[in-house]
Amino acid sequence: MIQARHLTKRYGATTAVDAVDFTVEPGRVTGFLGPNGAGKSTTMRMILGLDAPTSGSVTVNGHAYADTGAPLREIGALLDADAVHPGRTARDHLRWLAVSNRIPQRRVDEVIGLVGLEKVAGRRVGAYSLGMGQRLGIAAALLGDPGTVVLDEPVNGLDPEGIRWVRELARQLAAEGRTVFVSSHLMSEMALMADHLIVIGRGTILADTSMTDFMAHHAASHVRLRSPQSREVAALLSGRGFAVTELDDEVRVIGADAAAVGELVCSHGLLLHELTLVRSSLEDAFMTLTAEAVEYHSTEGVAA
């Protein structure tokens, strides 16, 4: 279990993580979702005691990371940067990690097999592809057979088969009762992997909810209407208790049944040019949620 209490990290004028509170429970995959620069990696580094919180605290199984006996046996982590010397082979990297925490050497070959690196374990890591590097990082995280696993963007650089493998691994680890904390920028990925979702934007927690609840609340659909008599249509529908928003050239009815809306408008003899049921995807829901909190907006269009 991981618990953050008013966890705050400032780098000079930048507040990377702003007084966040959350708990990552065992036995389920908790997704940590946020756009670039939201503070995911910073939070994970603080969990591992690598960066010191400016204020607040974060604990693993009720104690600070540094108070762990053999940390790799309690919590395994894949960090965003490679965290591996390019001149060393994968096997040697895992070997020194194992020695440092008194993990039996046979475990090194076990995790190499687990992530499918048998053929290349004797090669220098510098020659690895992005995906192979990720697999090595995951092998290192699992080396001590830890009860808590923290993965910072594990699917980064993986091919579809690799992505599926990580997803299944995360689910399996959680099913075994472990605490699994996985970060990503991709809502679609989280939807497939996570049971619980913590959304972070600009260092603050925007949502902390089960995946099912998140879908029910945020993946809302609406009915889009276009009509030459849009004012009348809007008045009619809001008079009947529908949640109506009038935009420039369309009327939006949120959480309504398209057929019911169409029939009602028609029965009042009003003209309709378009009637569409618009389902907003989870990705849209995530975008909406983090719109204000996005650190780096891309500039629309191409300069003339």
Binding site: A77, A83, S100, R102, P146, W165
Partner: protein, 267 residues
């Protein structure tokens, strides 16, 4: 995919310092740069000594020689500090450069233990390699001196300069580890150390009077270097053992500073 054992959640005992030292040893021997640097140290330290002795033996044996043969028997060891410093720096800065330092501190959260393990390991390796290299240079160089009838015995100051070379390089290794943790960049740390060891001594000569003399006495290349020299060229320097004690104090100051900073800064 094989299955994993269910998590135990039990917290095992903290690994002893021996495990951490062993892990650092695995790290040190599994990168090529270690072997390249040590090879450079041996080749320069022993090879250059032999070469210089071979080239100068005849002149040293002649009546016009105004230097003692003993001062040539560790000639190559004057450059060995460069290799020692690079090795010490790399064990730290290569980790910062690649991001591996985070793996290191995640595996061993006590930064003081990581620092100590690196320092102890470097000191041990450099003492052994440094002393062996000095002896190798002695054997090679003395063969040429003996051929001219001016061989030096492996005793007294000459013997002291052999393991003194090991001690000096060991101290430099610890200093380099500390500077590596302070600076975190290979080029920066190496430049600082090479400047301190090889450039400052010539610049200090421009400082006049007693001030200059004292600064010269206290430069690490002189405080630490004297113990590695069989013959004292400069009467103004501290005695070898006194100098070495001062050198250790200087190293300790940098180590303390690096230790404090390491605790304070983010990894």
């Amino acid at each position: 995919m094989s299955t994993l054992a269910p998590p135990r959640g039990l917290i095992t005992a903290r690994p002893g310092f021996g495990s951490i030292l062993h892990a650092e040893w695995v790290k040190l021997r599994t990168v090529r740069s270690t072997w390249w640097t040590l090879m450079a140290l041996v080749v320069v330290g022993a090879g250059l000594t032999t070469l210089i002795c071979a080239l100068n033996a005849e002149w040293l044996a002649s009546p016009e020689a105004d230097e003692s043969p003993g001062s040539f028997i560790t000639f190559g060891m004057m450059l060995a500090p460069a290799a020692a410093v690079v090795l010490g720096v790399l064990t730290v800065t290569a980790e910062y450069g690649s991001g591996m330092i985070r793996s290191s501190f995640a595996a061993v959260p006590s930064r003081a233990r990581v620092f100590t393990a690196k320092a102890v390991l470097l000191a041990a390796v450099l003492f052994v390699v440094g002393t062996a290299t000095a002896l190798l240079g002695y054997v090679g160089g003395n063969a040429f001196l003996e051929a001219e009838g001016i061989g030096v015995g492996l005793e007294g100051d000459v013997l002291r300069s052999m393991f003194g070379s090991g001690l000096y390089l060991a101290g430099l290794g610890v200093l380099a580890v500390a500077v590596g943790f302070l600076v975190r960049h290979t080029a920066g740390a190496v430049t600082i150390l090479l400047t301190a060891l090889f450039v400052l001594p010539t610049m200090v000569m421009l400082v006049p009077g007693e001030t200059g003399q004292w600064i010269n006495k206290l430069l690490p290349s002189n405080t630490g270097g004297s113990i590695a020299a069989p013959v004292m060229f400069n009467p103004n320097l501290l005695d070898p053992w006194v100098g070495f004690a001062v050198f250790l104090a200087e190293v300790a100051v940098v180590v303390a500073l690096a230790g404090v900073m390491l605790r304070r800064r983010d990894a």
